[in-house]
Symmetry: C2
Subunit: 428 residues, 2 copies
């Protein structure tokens, strides 16, 4: 008997018939002898509907009250799911974030989980119930209701899996798992059987939407094994695990892309110590999330500093840069919203020096210009024109032959699922 | 500075524009220097929508989960109201039933309030906030979310008013107050300025829908002064008070009616001691709510026992009576769903022996047959044919000249509102 945490997103519980399908799946897991904790999001776009209601009564809703409002969404889906499970020969009890002991800080709208006091959950499991928990929400140290921000339900699921020592945290979604590239851009993209936490972090950070960064970070920190899979099929999805749970490493896991950012540039900045630091401090003080930063080599005593920011922060970033321009003495500020970032992620590239050269060649052969480059030990990102994003992803995917199955599987010792092992070599 | 509890029903917060209107009213009360606690119901028919959702996922939803589901409704309306108030120069904090310390027993769907631990509410008031509380809900001694059943939000408001020692509990609704008769039946029905708890109890019990019995009972027991008024106007409504808060008594307050009951009769029961007791014990054991009971005089050693039950309990009542028939030896069982109950309520009738005769004459002059009669010290109820209900109410209202203003007002000592005093005499 294993303890399993399952998380179902909004599309999986979008209407009554889908809730019944989820109930079937949960009941099957329970009848198979498992202890089951289910974390649910709000139904379909009900959260957006609540936000629209809020905007009709207030131009700038109080954050505490917005959290109170939004948490009604999971309350509805979880109660409905518990009712449906009760008709399938299992008993179920639903719990709000507060009842489930999800203790957070007091930052409404983007609270962080400080502690999980899962006593009531453990009691309910011991009494034989399937436990349904509202995702995305908690209770603050001030006893107010809080929400965890985007992707919060995934984080709730991982936090509960960690607190309860679950065998696996299954993230059910509307895709089959994590792919080597977005299948809408690359039709022969391949589903990955397994990726490491680090790879998944880089992919999430560079545009893969299947899991939020925060949830993957929490899983890595607590060692929770994730299984990302479709709520519409029984096929296994993608496991996210410690790297050393796999016997060998893939060189490349996949290609991700992100069109949500803009590039801003401070032009002809005096090239002297402290200027870059001062610039980024002022930007950081504004709470603007900076991603890639590139400073060109000095030319006639000045240099250009470029960085990418979310498009939603662009107006604020430009205001700050205008202020910085005066202070440090740059000649101008420019902005470019027409860019995309294409990233190649793979834990094996650490020890394969040819990877970045191969990636740049693939782009060059496709006639695509690279505007900015940044790298980590397991990722290479290039900024290109927005119109080039699809050909860029396809060219890289093709060059690294990512659609070819380069893995073999073995049976996982606990028998809960096949956990595949990544193979000896992938062409570079 | 007074502490005021205001309760707004579902129609008062049915959409964003109505919520803004309620926010205006609440903010005005706050800006006038009062401490304000607001109890809200769910928006419009959102509770019915949630019930419909539940019926789509389960034929017989688990009561605990149904309560979890339904309590989402007030969560939405209260958060929206708090946001809107914050835009009107006041600060507001919303609290669920659980956060507000509404402690109930464990009977899901019809929980009773056992205690009100209003510490957080008092703290928030002391900090200068308007406090918004979800009506209709609480938390059980088992820490599960419960609902209070029909009219539960009124009870929440009264319970909070009692716990906080509020000056008044204002019940805002979609009518102007309590009338001498249903204005849809009697166009010249008059709004009452004041009624006693006892009169209001009798009127609620006999079909007046403006306040639920339970809420009035709670108010009487705790001495909470109610003011029933419209959320669509500033006109004063109807006060519900201790009888001795008024200087003199009206003989008649109003005429109410109820078409939700059916009459059942056990025919030709042996007229011997214990038969009626045995009959009513079996009916009570089935949990059937019996209202009027009439036993005719004995005739050839047998009698008929008739009583009224809610139509929703009719099938069960007939099953019980069939069993009783065999046991006590009656000749048959009959049922009649085509009846109505018309009641005359007034604290002054205790000392006015002519009232019942006048009422019966009014019905007789209108050609209406009386099928059953029951009385209390301040109420007379007659069962008539269902088709006769409107003419019966009109005839009685006319005979007692209830549309004529027979009251005078004086200024209430606390200045919060004019509390009228009921007059010397009303014609019988």
């Amino acid at each position: 008997m294993a303890l399993i945490v399952q998380k179902y997103g909004g599309t999986s519980v979008a209407d009554a018939s889908r809730i019944l399908r989820v109930a079937d799946r949960v009941a099957a897991a329970r009848h198979a002898g498992n202890e089951v904790v289910v974390v649910v999001s709000a139904m379909g776009d009900s959260t957006d509907e609540l936000l629209a209601l809020a905007s009709r009564v207030s131009p700038d809703p109080a954050p505490r009250e917005l959290d109170m409002l939004l948490t009604a969404g999971e309350r509805i889906s979880m109660a409905l799911l518990a009712m449906a499970i009760a008709d399938r020969g299992a008993t179920a009890k639903s719990f709000t974030g507060s009842q489930a002991g999800i203790i957070t800080d007091t930052l409404h709208g983007r609270a962080k989980i400080l502690d999980v006091r899962a006593g009531r959950i453990s009691d309910a499991l011991r009494e034989g119930h399937v436990v349904i928990v509202a995702g995305f929400q908690g209770v603050s140290t001030d006893l107010d209701v809080t929400t965890l921000g985007r992707g919060g339900s995934d984080t709730t699921a991982v936090a509960l899996a960690a607190a309860l020592g679950a065998e696996v945290c299954e993230i059910y979604t509307d895709v089959d798992g994590v792919f080597t590239a977005d299948p809408r851009l690359v039709p022969d993209a391949r589903k990955l059987h397994v990726v490491s936490y680090e790879e998944m972090l880089e992919m999430a950070a560079t545009g893969a939407r299947v899991l939020m960064l925060r949830c993957v970070e929490y899983a890595r920190r607590t060692g929770v094994r994730l299984h990302v899979r479709s709520s519409f099929s029984d096929a296994p999805g993608t496991w996210v695990l410690e790297e050393d749970e796999r016997m060998e490493k893939a060189i490349i896991s996949g290609v991700s892309y992100d069109t949500s950012e803009a590039k801003v540039t401070l032009v002809e900045v005096p090239d002297r110590p402290g200027v870059a630091a001062r610039t980024m401090r002022l930007v950081a003080d504004e709470g603007i999330n900076v991603d890639m930063i590139v400073q060109n080599v000095s030319h006639h005593g000045t240099t250009d500093i470029s960085f990418t920011v979310p498009k939603s922060d662009l107006a604020r970033a430009l205001r700050v840069l205008e202020q910085v321009r005066g202070e440090v003495g740059a000649s101008g500020v420019s902005a470019d919203g027409d860019i995309a970032k294409v990233s190649l992620v793979g834990a094996g590239m650490k020890s394969s020096p040819g990877v970045s050269a191969t990636m740049f060649e693939a782009l060059a052969d496709a006639g695509i210009n690279i505007e900015m480059i940044s790298t980590s030990t397991i990722r290479i990102s290039c900024v290109v024109r927005a119109r080039d994003v699809a050909p860029a992803v396809r060219a890289i995917h093709e060059r690294f032959k990512l659609s070819q199955e380069a893995e073999y599987r073995h049976e996982h010792p606990d028998g809960t699922a096949e956990i595949p092992v990544i193979p000896r070599e992938v062409p570079t």
